[in-house]
């Protein structure tokens, strides 16, 4: 059981596996395919104060081993979204975390509204790529001042190391490392270069490094997000110092892996997963610092890979 506390309120995750914003929809879309109660929590797709419409332009470019997506974050604004989804969120077997985007003023207004409601267990703030550390602290503090809910900050990949401490100073109770990076690819349809966010297995080594670096520096719970496609990936993130992970595009590519990953964890305690080596494996309860230090300690004697005979 992982608890992310904010004063008297707390977000309790029965398993360290969370459905990421953008991948699972606004509520129970995936309940047709997946037993969502296997997850520790679900983050909604991004929600803004005012309605946002879908991007006009090309929204998907399939890539070798990944995909570029630019949706424009369509949603009908927090008040209408709440009317539309409150019943589903109440019926959800797992805590719902709302992903909020917008200016500091917009986010403050959203936070005040959510503080009056009961369906949402925590807020995840999407931190814009262009904000400086000082601005990140200010945005988070603005929201912090207006809600009792636990506050997660999802940091942009490139800026994660630079703005992480500021997000914690501002009052974030946990950090999500990281939002998927932006990229450019040629749209085969229009023949033009288009921009969007990038998803794929290759994200994992990039994000894993940031988690390792931040776990050595910060005391706040870290949630790894990016390129998790296999139970072994969860093990790697936990060993690098994450307390939980988020699953994103794997649910599109191989929904059955979401279940496999979630089932690799029994409630509260952590069983060893397929492929895990006994002497490397650390229980999830140990503090992040401890686990990360171990990575830098002397290695076990060499373990030759299985012979090919």
């Amino acid at each position: 059981m992982l608890e992310i506390t904010a004063g008297k309120s707390a977000l309790r995750l029965s398993r360290p596996v969370i459905g990421a914003s953008g991948a699972f929809g606004f509520a129970s879309e995936y309940s047709k395919l997946i037993d969502l109660s296997l997850l520790g929590a679900l983050v909604t797709n991004p929600i803004s104060l005012r309605p946002r419409r879908a991007a006009h332009s090309t929204r998907v470019v399939p890539l070798d081993g990944g995909v570029l997506i630019h949706t424009g974050l369509p949603n009908s604004g927090i008040h209408k979204m709440h009317r539309q989804y409150a019943a589903k969120w109440r019926a959800s077997p797992i805590p719902i975390i709302m992903h909020l985007i917008g200016s500091a003023d917009d986010l403050a207004e959203c936070a005040i509204f959510l503080d009056q409601q009961s369906e949402v267990a925590a807020i995840e703030l999407g931190i814009n790529d262009t904000l400086t550390a000082r601005e990140v602290r200010a945005v988070v503090a603005t929201v912090r001042a207006r809600t009792q809910l636990p506050l997660l900050a999802k940091l942009p990949l490139y800026q994660a190391v630079n703005v992480a401490a500021a997000a914690v100073d501002g009052g974030a109770n946990a950090l999500v490392i990281a939002a998927p990076p932006r990229g450019t690819a040629r749209d085969p349809l229009s023949g033009q270069l288009v921009g969007g966010r990038l998803y794929g297995t290759w994200l994992k080594p990039l994000v894993l490094r940031l988690v390792g670096q931040l776990a050595m520096r910060l005391d706040v719970p870290l949630i790894g997000c990016g390129g998790v496609h296999h139970p072994d990936d969860v093990r790697d993130f936990l060993e690098a110092g994450a307390r939980a992970i988020q699953l994103d595009s794997v649910v599109w590519a191989r929904p059955e892996m979401v279940t496999a990953i979630a089932q690799a964890f029994s409630v509260g305690e952590l069983t060893r997963m397929a492929g895990a080596l006994a002497d490397e494996w650390r229980a999830i309860g140990e503090p992040a610092e401890r686990r990360t230090q171990l990575l830098l300690a002397p290695p076990p004697p060499s373990m030759p890979s299985p012979p090919e005979i």
Partner: protein
């Protein structure tokens, strides 16, 4: 919508470019109707990352026949991971007696399952193959179907009569869709029929679908009302009088 496994039981090449795969599928995948399809993965690895759209053209008990381009190679007994059925059945009106299907430069495969039930209830149906679509092996089509060929839209000589004649009209194009072609068709239908009733003129929209389940919001189609609909949930057929065609141009200036 379910995830399940299918096995390729038989592979039949019906032309230089088209092959038909007979898939033994599980129960939930046998209940598929015209206009619905599968998102398939042939590989346990992640290349390609997104699933491919597989179009069923016939269902026989536990066997679904899908059509695939011959440039993809398959093996008998190969296991395929399927998500589906995706989308809504095409809105074939029970009162419709005459059906016009138009394939612009594209395979008409997406129509064939609906066609089966339409012909079964004595609809008269005409298929128009335009441009490259003429390469489709129409010997493999049901004999009751009337087939018209045209080099391009304006050369489709019978279009006045055929558009006037049809109770319902469905048009397809290479994925994701072909807005200029749909615009030309819409103008023609407006000119020829004056008022276009509801549920009359449909275009097929098949944008890339990362999730196929309504979660990722990447497959939105914009309507003139300002609303947006998901192709994977509300599609593939959209009423062309309700879609905001200009706002769905790929990479349009409004982006």
């Amino acid at each position: 919508m379910q995830q399940g496994q299918a096995i390729i039981e038989r592979i039949r090449r019906i032309s230089a470019g088209v092959q038909r795969l007979e898939l033994a599928v599980e129960k939930p995948h046998q209940a598929i109707s015209g206009g619905q399809f599968f998102l398939a993965r042939t590989d346990s690895a992640y290349g390609p990352y997104l699933r491919e759209a597989w179009l069923p053209i016939a269902v026989r008990e536990n066997v679904v026949i899908v059509e695939r381009p011959t440039r993809y190679a398959y093996l008998p007994n190969q296991v395929i991971d399927l998500l589906g059925p995706i989308g809504r059945p095409f809105p074939l009106r029970s009162s419709a007696r005459t059906l016009l299907l138009i394939a612009y430069e594209a395979t008409p495969a997406i129509f064939l399952l609906m066609l089966q039930s339409a012909l079964a209830r004595q609809c008269a149906a005409t298929l128009v193959l335009i441009g490259q679509a003429r390469r489709y092996p129409f010997e493999a089509l049901p004999p009751a179907l009337e087939v018209t060929l045209a080099e391009y839209h304006e050369r489709w000589a019978e279009r006045e009569q055929q558009i006037a004649w049809a109770d319902q009209i469905f048009a397809a194009a290479p994925p994701p869709y072909d807005i200029p072609a749909y615009l030309r068709l819409l103008e023609d239908v407006q000119r020829i029929r004056q008022a276009i009733g509801p549920e009359t003129l449909y275009g097929v929209f098949q944008p890339p679908m990362p999730c196929g389940i309504g979660a990722c919001q990447a497959c939105l189609v914009r309507l003139q009302s300002g609303d947006e609909m998901l192709a994977c949930i509300d599609g593939l057929a959209f009423d062309l009088t309700r879609v905001n065609l200009l706002q769905n141009l790929p990479n349009s200036p409004g982006a």
